[in-house]
Symmetry: C2
Subunit: 95 residues, 2 copies
Amino acid sequence: MTNLGQRIRKLREQQSLLLRQVAAHLEVDTALISKIERGERNASRQQVIAIAKFLKADEEELLTLWLADKIESTIVEEPEVAYQAMKIANKKLKK
Amino acid sequence: MTNLGQRIRKLREQQSLLLRQVAAHLEVDTALISKIERGERNASRQQVIAIAKFLKADEEELLTLWLADKIESTIVEEPEVAYQAMKIANKKLKK
DNA sequence: ACTGGCTTGTCAAATTTTGTCAAATGTAGG
DNA sequence: CCTACATTTGACAAAATTTGACAAGCCAGT
């Protein structure tokens, strides 16, 4: 199961691009992109979109992974009730 | 489908307790409990536990609703990809 | 040892969240 | 209509979290 950061890193490496190049495109520090790829920091929605564009990736795919990461970090702290809570959230989603 | 706030309100009213009494027990302002019941503010984990105790409710039930609320508010901003992201998060949960 | 790419730790600034207060609104009885 | 009490609302300061930059460090390849 792949995270947003892992996916971004893979896309970037497939195109032999440097962190520096991605960073320049987003106008942020290289260190920040490094952290995003390693999952140490979350990207903002706008950053995800910009990355998708630069890496010629499907924006929706990356936004999906980005949201999945957020859900994961929400539930990971409550393993006891996570499954049941997910079920409830799913039901609400279907409306 | 019931939210944490709605559930708390129901429990409180069934026992004819006032917001003030719940607030006193948690040592917070009445306004805050009002906001929590109406979903305008999120309760903290510790507050949920204290409320469960005071209202003689099942702590796990309330924590489940509390987490479901958090998940819901995470996904509600991304309806386009919410469903798919939930699927991914679910898979990760099963590990 | 030098270079280039990446990582790490720390920090201040920006943003978000939290709880309180005071005022407003609602509600029921006299 | 008053009054008393419960709840809601909006504004605000304080607290907590997040954000991104910077500088120093690490690690290969040469």
